[in-house]
Symmetry: C2
Subunit: 599 residues, 2 copies
């Protein structure tokens, strides 16, 4: 039994109980703070250093408190959708913290809703704080600006409901602190967005600081010991029956539910081969010789496919089985060969064990299974290595581009890829140790990567990670282009590769290959950073590359690679060129849609 | 009794009944079309010539039909929120048609939701068509991209519900045509957004063309004759008791519910003085000598205020009593002096008559009240004239800017103003005959004006109106800046005044006068059109003006004024300068919010 994890779970449980008690037994004589300051202090305790959003009537008073806060920096975004994307990207990199976005009643919060829904879908902890009219106005319901004109003040909260795991409105000081604690705790433990409504007149109301001395924690409660013992025995027996022929398949929730370290330890001590689903890429070190690359059902490289599907047992950790994450649901792993570990349940073959979460069980499983190391560590794993294919043409193709880029990446890079060619192109290339890939495979909202890269780059800077690299198509970038402006204003230095293929190539792959509706306007990308620059004060550089040679030269340039200033690289590509994995995936998608006509 | 209107109402009623009959008695042997083509044909019949939106998986098949349609042009927007704004602006100018926006499942439709909610709030007929997964996928609910990962395929439709007047999903060919007709009819008669879900496999299903020969109409059903007679008598008696001392107060719904002509006739035949609420500006001809300007409660010019509030009777037409439209609810008109005409009811003093709509009643009221012309036409009306104040400073102030612009405006101009300084600045200046002001006073979503101006400019072009002029602040423009790109791509030639005051001046007026959160980055506005230009092919011109002299010279330049190419004018203004009406309004708003602290 792993003492460290178990102790952490127990400490967290004790704190939760203390907080519950405190709600019932408030002390007197404890210093007071304001509701606004209390909320910020809780966020600061969890490592939040940047807050996203826009000012708007109904949140300006709270913004005073934010602007004056010594630890939290206000990032004025250009619009609310981008702000939500940024909070999502921030949370994905600051894995111990959460993303926070502040909007205003109606107009602001609704603009952010797609970004919040994406965070729900992809399981990212984002706290959405909404400035609302005063508690008295919410009772009298005057026909204010930003309303629907019919007194339905609750319509926006209702609209948000399907996309958050919890909603709360702070309507009086007496329970504000405990409601804030509850909301934040749910957000970080469930790794899902939470909606917190803050009426204008609540911001400066007084609350006790007493609870602030008890930390909030994302560590889940301990599993039921007897059930966990039983499950571990079951798994042990299956591994034994399989004679150690096990492969581990990691997926998105390894990161979302905070078991990166536990999984690394399992892999180290057991020697099991490991593969990743697309959404699990970089959740384990890709330089580990036991790492064999991406498994994505029928779209998998044949050597990998055989290894995964022929294993006697697959130990799947944190799976999220969406269409684009599974090669259109084409996993070929029999249930009787399959064990699934999730944040709040475990499946062993056909049996499901509710309440048995992986965070608590993984260390104990590692202890139990380490005896298989001598056998399991000898199971062969296909090489997953960097190799640039020889191509006679000078043009920059996806086939060449992504392997070439793999030699450009460095340890600790934060790599953000847009839904589209980039999400698929990146899959087949190994990324360095401690590099993190940020992508939105399930939700797939085009334009997301730009806002997300802003948040990710800020988080990377806070963590001392020197480079954030964004890959985005020209079509997607047009949706959210203004968010390059806060990058410049905040002194961030991402490298932005704009794959200029004159439109939405992912859509072209699905349907309408030569249709005009998949084309976009031809912007002068090389002058964009200069146009958005903050009074021309911030150094920036833009490049256009049209051939392999030009790109090679740029990538080999040490000053470029050092990412000391914000840089944009326009990469000219053929509108119809796409990574092979995307072409195969979208053929299946198009069939499922039954569009019915050729074009 | 006015024969024209009455006949129109009867013809519309006959058509409605024919359509109802047709649903029950489908003929055989009638040519067929597809569901997609049927929908487009209905829209084309109503005058729709441009459709807004973005391609996305789940709407690509329908886009084939749109792209191939001979009458409807696809406007590829840069993002969905902007597309919804554009559909809204289009509908506001093409008053006989409607705006149409096409998005895709989840990611697309949610991005548009704030734009749709704005159209609901402001009563603009916008049809939101959403491409959805196929009918079979909606039954099996696979974990597709763009889903929440939990099979809740109906979550997005639910989220949209508070913001539309009607929702429908086309799930089989048998009732598709009648459901389309019902959806469009509700949209245009209620002047509110409607949500229409179109699964991928429905687009090419066959439907009969039979219904297409019966037109859809926005003319409301005739009022109940006896009640209407009674109401008209009541009003007549009040006007008589008032000895013809009546003022007419026009508001937003004069335009939204299509009674511009009826109101003009009433004013002509009775000679009543007329004033407008902010949202009703340009609903009547401002060059009419009987027009006295804007009434906005306690914020009104004293000469106007006295005239309106001292009248023995106020005939209010199409009122929408929101905070910014009424000087924070400071109307000083006793209910016993007040008559309100609405689209679906009438109020006479304290009495409410449901079902008595203004469209049918206005012509009869005009007939009844024309006898007061000799008296009423002599009631004095304050001059509402153009006059530029003398100011010693060279700086461009709001006090000077708006009156100066009033000499630049021409007949038939389409003038779009952003929420903020522009919405308030424009109020006090007379606009030419047949000019239309497009603004979003109630919903007030910043950035709206840019998308809206795209739609308005397209509509203006279709109607042969030569100029569209946009006034937007630098802060607001950053939210939606990319929508200048489709303007360029579509060859539109708006004149775009960017009021550069380094941030959100309307927020500064409400709260946080010197706070950083109200500042925005300082873009190089003069290079923006060039950066967004479509391969540099489209002529454009940008200017920066820093003094009254520079702006005067530009406005007097005939080539500039002829609006033959897209032009952007950056107008340098003091960050704290604002129109007087905005300052007075926001003082009241800030108090209502009870932010509680000074800054």
């Amino acid at each position: 039994m792993s003492n460290t994890t178990d102790t952490a779970a127990l400490v967290a449980e004790v704190d939760r109980l203390k907080l519950e008690l405190q709600s019932l037994q408030a002390k007197t004589g404890v210093p007071e703070t304001t509701v606004g300051a209390y909320l910020l202090e809780r966020l600061a305790q969890l490592g939040v250093r940047s807050m996203f959003g826009l000012p708007g009537d109904f949140n300006l008073g709270f913004l005073d408190v934010v602007e004056d806060h010594p630890k939290i920096d206000w990032v004025g975004n250009c619009n609310e959708l981008n702000a939500a994307y940024a909070a999502d990207g921030y949370a994905r990199i600051k894995e111990d913290a959460l993303g926070v976005v502040l909007t205003t009643f109606g107009v602001g919060e609704l603009s952010a809703i797609n970004g919040i829904a994406g965070a729900f879908s992809e399981m990212v902890p984002v706290l959405h704080i909404v400035g609302q009219p005063s508690t008295s106005q919410q009772k009298t319901k005057p026909l204010l600006h930003h309303t629907l004109g019919d007194g339905r003040f609750d319509a926006y909260t209702q609209a948000s409901k399907p996309f958050v795991i919890h909603q709360v409105a702070l309507m009086n000081a007496a329970d504000a602190a405990s409601l804030i604690d509850e909301a934040i705790t749910i957000c970080i433990t469930k790794a899902r967005p939470v909606y917190l409504a803050l009426p204008t007149d609540m911001v400066l109301q007084k609350v006790s600081t007493e609870r602030l001395s008890i930390p909030l924690s994302r560590t889940p409660p301990p599993n039921d010991q007897q059930t966990e013992d039983f499950v571990i025995d079951q798994i042990y027996q299956l591994v034994k029956d399989a004679e150690g022929d096990v492969v581990v398949l990691v997926d998105a929730c390894v990161v979302r539910h905070d078991v990166r370290k536990e999984v690394a330890q399992l892999l180290k001590e057991t020697g099991f081969p490991v593969y990743a689903a697309p959404m699990g890429k970089t959740s384990v070190d890709e330089n580990n010789p036991r790492y064999g690359g991406i498994y994505v059902g029928s779209l998998t490289d044949p050597a990998v496919k055989e290894r995964v599907e022929d294993a006697k047992l697959v130990l799947s950790i944190g799976a999220l089985l969406s269409d684009f994450n599974t090669g259109n649901f084409s996993y070929n792993i029999p249930t009787r060969h399959n064990i699934e570990l999730h944040s709040d349940h475990t499946k062993v073959q056909y049996a499901r064990y509710n309440g048995i979460g992986m965070k608590g069980m993984l260390p104990r499983l590692t202890e139990k299974l380490r005896s298989f190391h001598s056998v399991s560590s000898k199971i062969p794993v296909p090489d997953f290595i960097k190799k640039v294919p020889g191509e006679p043409s000078h043009d920059i193709t996806h086939l060449w581009f992504w392997p070439r880029l793999s030699f450009f990446f460095q340890n600790h890079d934060v790599i953000v890829t847009e839904t589209g060619t980039a999400n698929f192109g990146i899959l087949d290339v190994p990324l360095p140790a401690h590099a993190t890939l940020v992508s939105q495979v399930l939700w797939g909202s085009i334009g997301w990567s730009v806002g997300s890269a802003l948040g990710a780059a800020l988080a990377a800077k806070e963590l001392g990670r020197p480079r954030t690299i964004l890959f985005v198509g020209d079509g997607s970038l047009q949706l959210t282009v203004q968010e390059l402006s806060p990058m410049i204003r905040k002194g961030l230095t991402p490298i932005i590769f704009v794959l200029n293929n004159k439109g939405y190539t992912i859509e072209r792959c699905i349907h309408g290959k030569h249709r005009k509706y998949n084309d976009v306007a031809d912007w002068k990308w090389s002058s964009l950073l200069d146009t958005l620059n903050d009074g021309g004060k911030v150094p920036s550089e833009s490049y256009t590359v049209t051939s392999k040679r030009e790109l090679n030269e740029l990538l080999d340039n040490k000053e470029f690679a050092s990412a000391q200033k914000i840089q944009l690289v326009e990469v000219m590509m053929d509108p119809q060129d796409a990574p092979a994995a995307l072409i195969r995936q979208t053929e299946m998608t198009g069939q499922g849609n039954a569009y019915g006509n050729a074009d």
